[in-house]
Structure formats: structure tokens, C-alpha cells
């Protein structure tokens, strides 16, 4: 569709952002990136352990996607700000997927540290994509400090539980005027379609694709799902009703009464 998602002034033709974590090999990842049709992939930073850390970059260059550096693993605003700056130096981009985690078991964001880090990074000129929980108030505050998008979770990272609270996502979509990208929790295609139907402007997912039995096939599924959900949102779905509404008229039903019918036909 000619329906780009614009974030921080950049128009993206795909509304799917792919996280690169969890792929069993760099080749599997490359095929998944291509199949997903994404324009943006997330990348993390860790201590260099071999002389050629570049193979991941080679894949990214070959596939022509943009890098969204993340701050995975940070627990404080101060640490996240520094990791964001490392990402800016490493990849020469001011984009950052801001993660500030509050608990290692749930990997849920810490609202106080997250807002603090977001404010510092916006002031420092970053285009901030914060990974947040599904609290509409926090989303509003992240928007008010100048984040380029908000990325609420559907459920915990890697849980595959989908969207546990669709109402909060719908409320977030109503209350902020920046892009809303569902981040975390997607397990399968219908979850991604639902996210878009709820009004999300995009979906970010990693494990759902990279840890699927067939990552390339799942990446293709997600590409279709995001398009399907976006179109369905705009097409104006029918209302829900408790009872049925016939799709065939009763007018002009033929009278076929005969010996082998019991009269209810009339």
C-alpha cells in the first residue's frame, strides 16, 4: 500500500519492525529480514569478542534496512543514556529503541527510569522510540517529553502471549498523537493483525519470527498480517452483535411444501 509510516521525519514503507535477537544463524536472519519486507531492524551493543563483528552489519547493508540501536539490558536511566550514545557513535544514527528494564524476570520497563532517560535523550537530539508498558498515562508523558513514537507492550518480551489488554492499547492510540508501535509479546500472525486493528501504526517483533520453527515463513506471515490488520482498520469493520444478521434475504423463498416436509417450511 502507499501508506507510509513516518517517524522522526522518515517515511517507512513497511509497518513492521524486526528485532534481530534470537535467530539461530546470520543466514536465517537474512532470509527473515527479506521475507518480512521490513525497513528497520533493531541491533544491540555488546563488548567486542572477535576481530570481525561486522557480519551482522553486512547483512543489514545487503538487505538495505535501517538500524534502530537498542539499549537492551539497561536498568537505569544513566546507563541507558550512555548505551544510546554508544549506539549513535557505532551506527551514526540518532535513532534509539529505548529500553530501561525494571525486573529481569518479566523484563518489564521501569516507568520512572524510562521517562527520565527519554527526557535526557530527547534533549540530546535523539529520535527516541521508547519500549513502554501499556499504561496510557506513561505513554502520554513520553509523548509530552518529545518521543518520536511510543512502543507499548502487548505482553512480556518473548512471552508470545499476544495482546493481554487491548483496551489499554486502544486508549493509548486515542490519547497520543505520535505513532504507536506495538512492541513485545506478539506470538503469531493474528496478534500482529489485531494490534493494527486496534489502531497501532506499526508492530515490532523479534522472537515470534526468529524463534519460530520456520523463521522465513513466519516473517512472511507477519508481513501479510500487518498489511491485513492495517487495511481492516481502515476498511471499517462491521459492528459486533449478540445475535445473527442474515446475509441472505428471506424475501422470495420458494414454497416447496410436499409430502416429505413437515410444514415448518412455510
Amino acid at each position: 500500500m502507499n501508506d507510509p509510516l513516518t517517524i522522526g521525519g522518515t517515511a517507512l514503507s513497511s509497518r513492521l519492525v524486526l528485532g534481530t535477537g534470537g535467530a539461530s544463524s546470520i543466514d536465517v536472519l537474512e532470509r527473515a529480514i527479506i521475507a518480512s519486507g521490513t525497513d528497520v531492524v533493531t541491533v544491540a551493543l555488546r563488548r567486542v569478542t572477535d576481530r570481525r563483528p561486522g557480519s551482522l552489519l553486512d547483512v543489514i547493508e545487503r538487505t538495505g534496512v535501517r538500524i534502530l540501536p537498542n539499549t537492551a539490558g539497561c536498568y537505569t536511566a544513566g546507563e541507558a543514556v550512555k548505551v544510546a550514545r554508544l549506539g549513535r557513535e557505532a551506527f551514526e544514527t540518532d535513532w534509539v529503541k529505548l529500553e530501561v528494564i525494571g525486573d529481569e524476570r518479566t523484563l518489564l520497563p521501569d516507568p520512572i527510569e524510562l521517562l527520565d532517560a527519554a527526557e535526557q535523550l530527547v534533549d540530546d537530539g535523539f529520535t527516541v522510540w521508547p519500549y513502554t508498558n501499556d499504561d496510557p498515562i506513561l505513554a502520554t508523558r513520553l509523548a509530552s517529553v518529545g518521543c518520536a513514537a511510543v512502543m507499548p507492550l502487548g505482553s512480556p518480551i518473548g512471552s508470545g502471549m499476544g495482546i493481554r489488554n487491548p483496551y489499554n492499547l486502544a486508549i493509548i492510540r486515542e490519547q497520543v498523537d505520535i505513532p504507536v508501535i506495538l512492541d513485545a509479546g506478539i506470538g503469531t500472525a493474528s496478534d500482529a493483525a489485531l494490534a493494527m486493528e486496534l489502531g497501532c501504526d506499526g508492530v515490532l517483533l523479534a522472537s515470534a519470527v526468529t524463534r519460530a520453527r520456520d523463521p522465513e515463513a513466519m516473517a512472511t506471515a507477519m508481513r501479510h498480517a500487518v498489511v491485513a490488520g492495517r487495511l481492516a482498520r481502515d476498511a471499517g469493520r462491521i459492528p459486533r452483535r449478540l445475535y445473527a444478521e442474515a446475509s441472505t434475504t428471506d424475501d422470495g423463498r420458494p414454497d416447496l411444501l410436499g409430502p416429505d416436509t413437515d410444514g415448518r417450511a412455510g
Binding site: 535477537g21 541491533v43 544491540a44 551493543l45 563488548r47 576481530r51 563483528p53 561486522g54 554508544l86 557513535e89
Partner: protein, 66 residues
């Protein structure tokens, strides 16, 4: 002169710049970044910043991450 690189001690004789250190560690400078004593060092300063005894250097590169 002994510095700490990614938590490990490293010794050099004579002055060394961050740029030189990076080049000894990785084949090319794409996708790597450096923090010196806890602060991020802009790429533009790598070749003009020299190590001192006890300097703590973090050298990081791209890895797969969600």
C-alpha cells in the same frame, strides 16, 4: 602502561591512541563504539585521544538484539 579493555588488563609500551587500540581489536571501524572511563568517546576523537595508565576502555560492537 597498563589499561583495562572490556574488563581485562592490557599492557603497552609507549603512547597509544584509542584509534590505534580499536584497529588492533577489530578489522574495521564500522559498527563499533568506545567508552573511556565511563564516558562515550565520539568517533571523531578516537585518533586524538591517548590512553593513560589505568584507563578503562569499553569497546562494543553490533550484536543481534530485539
Amino acid at each position: 602502561m597498563t589499561i583495562e579493555l572490556n574488563g581485562q588488563p592490557r599492557s603497552f609500551d609507549g603512547p597509544v591512541t584509542i584509534g590505534a587500540l580499536v584497529d588492533t581489536e577489530v578489522a574495521d571501524r564500522r559498527g563499533v563504539a568506545v567508552a573511556v572511563d565511563g564516558d562515550v568517546l565520539p568517533r571523531s576523537s578516537w585518533d586524538t585521544t591517548t590512553l593513560h595508565d589505568g584507563t578503562k576502555v569499553e569497546l562494543v560492537g553490533a550484536v543481534q538484539g530485539g
